[in-house]
């Protein structure tokens, strides 16, 4: 399109690709994990992997907020959405995530008042516009979106909005990464670190990866050039036998993170003892709930929910995809029983999910000629 800014310049892309080709050891295979779903999406959307040499492989990681929501939480959300007098709000892609019986979109078609919002503030505005209804916001995301939920809750409290509630599904990025590094079935050479999360938490929380596991991390932006440059920085570390956290995304990420955001989060949220991740099982201290000071806004304390753990469908291999153990197309139901229009797993629903990104953008064997 005519809007091609400096971070999408094809010419610079080719230059970087050339530098990567010059930096790699042709005898070696490099397996780099992009932690964040936003990276996965960019990689497929811009065809970034087309510019990488054959021996540099990108593996998709667990950082897609919608993908990690387990079925039981969807069921709980639907139970709240069906409660009397409730307007249930969530982000658009969440509406299509399958629960054990149905999705929120299907619950809406059956009469539940489910509405799409673009931010927690939109939901709060809806609550103020409908004082005689209860407005519930289904909050999800990593540390990226948690501060805006926290600020919204603070505002609701300050303004005394008594018909606004939050069903909190916020998760944190470090525990799943640790779980992943502890699992024996994955050999990774380095990490393309999550840029957006790091704007909040900074780069320090990732220092355990080089320190304890001996793998380089480069915090990366989301434009295609950012990703290429980060790949180059990791390869340079590997070839230079260095191993550290580097920050490619300095134009946005301060090494210390955003202290103000962390403060607000600490006030509004507390760590859950454990939380179920889709396909990954229970991970302790990996998610947030509203703190006691915000108990009156907590939808989970206000509404009856089934609160049961629902096993993932047998065919579903989202866990393996989220851990990068298998490629999306290696799942047995990929593209046949599981498609974006009838998803079995979450990774096929969110545009940041590896299965959806591969299906929608990458489903094309590149060695097949276009004639």
């Amino acid at each position: 399109m005519k809007f091609v800014d400096e971070f999408r310049d094809a010419e610079l892309g080719r230059v970087l690709a050339g530098e990567i080709l010059a930096a790699v050891d042709p005898e070696r295979h490099y397996k780099l994990m992009e932690v964040c779903g936003g990276h996965t999406h960019s990689i497929y959307k811009y065809g970034v992997d087309d510019l990488l040499p054959d021996n540099v492989e990108l593996v998709h990681g667990p950082g897609c907020p919608v993908c990690v929501i387990p079925m039981g939480r969807v069921d709980d959300g639907i139970a709240i959405a069906r409660a009397e007098n409730v307007i249930f709000t969530c982000f658009g892609d969440m509406m299509r995530v399958p629960g054990s019986e149905q999705s929120l979109l299907e619950a809406k078609a059956e009469g539940a008042d489910v509405r799409m919002v673009y931010s927690p503030l939109d939901a709060l505005r809806l609550a103020k516009a409908n004082p005689d209804r209860d407005v519930v916001f289904f909050a999800l995301g990593f540390e990226t979106t948690a501060p805006s939920t926290a600020l919204t809750m603070k505002r609701a409290k300050a303004e005394g909005v008594s018909n606004f509630f939050c069903m909190c599904n916020h998760v944190t990025i470090v525990p799943p990464l640790r779980a992943l590094l502890d699992s024996p079935d994955l050999r990774l050479d380095g990490f393309i670190g999550p840029g957006h999360v790091s704007t909040v938490v900074g780069a320090r929380p990732f220092e355990f990866i080089p320190a304890d596991y001996g793998k380089p991390v480069v915090i990366s932006g989301f434009e295609p050039l950012d990703i290429l440059q980060s790949a180059l920085m990791i390869i340079n570390q590997l070839e230079g036998e260095r191993c550290e956290v580097e920050n490619q995304y300095t134009r946005v990420v301060p090494y210390e993170g955003n202290l103000r955001a962390l403060e607000v989060m600490a006030e509004v949220f507390e760590l859950r003892p454990h939380f179920e991740w889709r396909g990954l099982g229970f991970i302790s201290q990996s998610a947030l709930r509203l703190s006691d000071a915000y108990a009156e806004f907590d939808a989970e304390r206000r509404y009856e929910t089934p609160g049961v753990r629902v096993a993932d469908p047998k065919a579903c291999q989202c866990g393996e995809v989220l851990k990068g153990v298998i490629k999306p197309w290696e799942c047995k139901v990929f593209g046949t029983a599981c498609t974006p229009e009838h998803a079995i797993g979450t990774c096929m629903v969110s545009p940041e999910g590896a299965c959806a990104a591969y299906y929608n953008y990458g489903r094309f064997a590149r060695d097949r000629e276009v004639v």
Binding site: M1, K2, F3, V4, R8, D9, A10, G13, R14, Y44, K45, Y46, G47, V48, D49, D50, L51, L52, P53, D54, V56, E57, G92, D93, R96, L105, E106, K108, A109, E110, M116, V117, Y118, D122, P224, K327, W329, F334, G335, T336, T339, P340, E341, H342, P351, Y359, N360, Y361, G362, R363, F364, A365, R366, D367, R368, E369, V370, V371
Partner: protein
């Protein structure tokens, strides 16, 4: 994955998926959801899996924007469209403009000069008479510009809350132009893909007009009659003009996908050549949507044989409102039924139908 990494196994799985996709979809959902009206895959499933088999019509199976009926040697194009846009007035137009232009454009891209319209109104109890008057004026004005007459109509009123202000349904009829040799199945490898101007304005304008985002941008709907553009293409393209499509709901991406399937060809789009207004591009970046999927109400996509493409493009650009028309890609043979994008960044990817549009009631 880069070239050498596509293993035989991956290739086989991709082939299985393509076979699955090329089968006629079956409508298996237990209820209608908003996705079925969004113009993406769910809509396609509804049409191809439920409607088309039930009515077994050759003309319907063509899946054109208008159907063709022949009466004693006279070839007529017939089309119908309902309008439920919210809000009913938005920058650049209103539901009345859409109701005329939407139907006129379905005729125009079928190669038919619009002749007459019917007009059905479904009004909500309590609708402000001034709002109704304004829409009637808009309809009359748009019809005059488009050169069609409203010759019959109907009115129903439903209880408050059972409609949202007003819904409009128009049906249009026109005679197929003798110059037209159009068919959805006529597209051939080598043909050039042309759009009649910068894309994505209508859908973006509606989203912003709903006021759900704290985002202000100067974006107006592009609603207008496409007959002048179609007329210019028919004249300049001659028999080389294979097919035209009105890129409404689901945008240019959806049109390309439907036609790639219908003609069993590949469409390759050069992303860098697609005209998008800077304000539209900026807004869609912020909203996380791709302008290729955003609705237009006054843009067509044309497929022209290579020999006539330059002439057709020049003719199109001389039509007022089509100055930004551009050739955005080319038709290829393999892999059939697919749309591929050469990204501005130098990579390549698939551009599929959307599973479900998050933006309902856009027209």
């Amino acid at each position: 994955m880069s070239e050498g990494l596509v293993s035989g196994r991956e290739q086989r799985i991709l082939e299985i998926i393509e076979t699955t996709r090329s089968k006629r979809p079956r409508f298996k959902d237990s209820q209608v959801t908003m996705s079925h009206g969004a113009g993406g895959k769910a809509t396609q499933t509804l049409i191809e899996g439920l409607f088309a088999p039930a009515f077994a019509s050759e003309s319907l199976d063509q899946m054109g924007d208008a159907g063709v009926v022949e009466i004693e040697g006279l070839r007529l194009a017939l089309t119908t469209d309902s309008f439920v846009v919210k809000p009913i007035r938005f920058p650049g137009g209103s539901i009345g403009d859409l109701a005329v232009n939407g139907t006129v454009n379905d005729l125009a891209v079928a190669g038919a000069r619009p002749a007459a319209l019917s007009l059905s109104l479904i009004l909500e109890e309590g609708l402000d008479a001034e709002e109704l008057r304004a829409e009637v004026r808009a309809i009359a004005a748009a019809a005059e510009v488009a050169g069609v007459e409203v010759i019959t109509g109907d009115t129903k009123v439903v209880e408050r809350g059972h409609a949202d202000k007003m819904y409009i349904c128009t049906t249009g009829v026109g005679q197929i132009d003798p110059r037209a040799r159009l068919s959805t199945a006529a597209i051939e490898p080598g043909d050039k893909i042309i759009v009649s101007g910068s894309i994505g304005a209508h859908g973006t304008a509606i989203m912003l007009a709903r006021g759900e985002f704290e985002l202000d941008a100067d974006i107006e709907s592009d609603t207008c009659s496409l007959w002048p553009a179609a007329d210019a293409l028919l004249e300049a393209g001659g028999a080389g003009l294979r097919c035209m499509r009105d890129a409404t709901r689901g945008g240019v991406a959806t049109v390309l996908n439907e036609l790639a399937r219908a003609s069993q060809v590949t469409m390759v789009v050069r992303e860098a050549d697609v005209p998008v207004d800077a304000a539209v591009m900026g807004a869609s970046e912020l909203l996380g949507i791709d302008p290729m999927y955003v609705a237009n109400e006054g843009k067509l996509v044309a497929f022209v044989a290579p020999g006539q493409a330059d002439g057709a493009l020049a003719a199109l650009r001389s039509v007022p409102g089509c100055e930004e028309a551009a050739e955005i890609g080319e038709v290829k043979t393999e892999p059939p039924g697919m749309v591929l994008v050469e990204t501005a960044f130098g990579g390549r990817r698939v551009m599929d139908l959307l599973a479900g549009d998050p933006l309902p009631r856009i027209c």
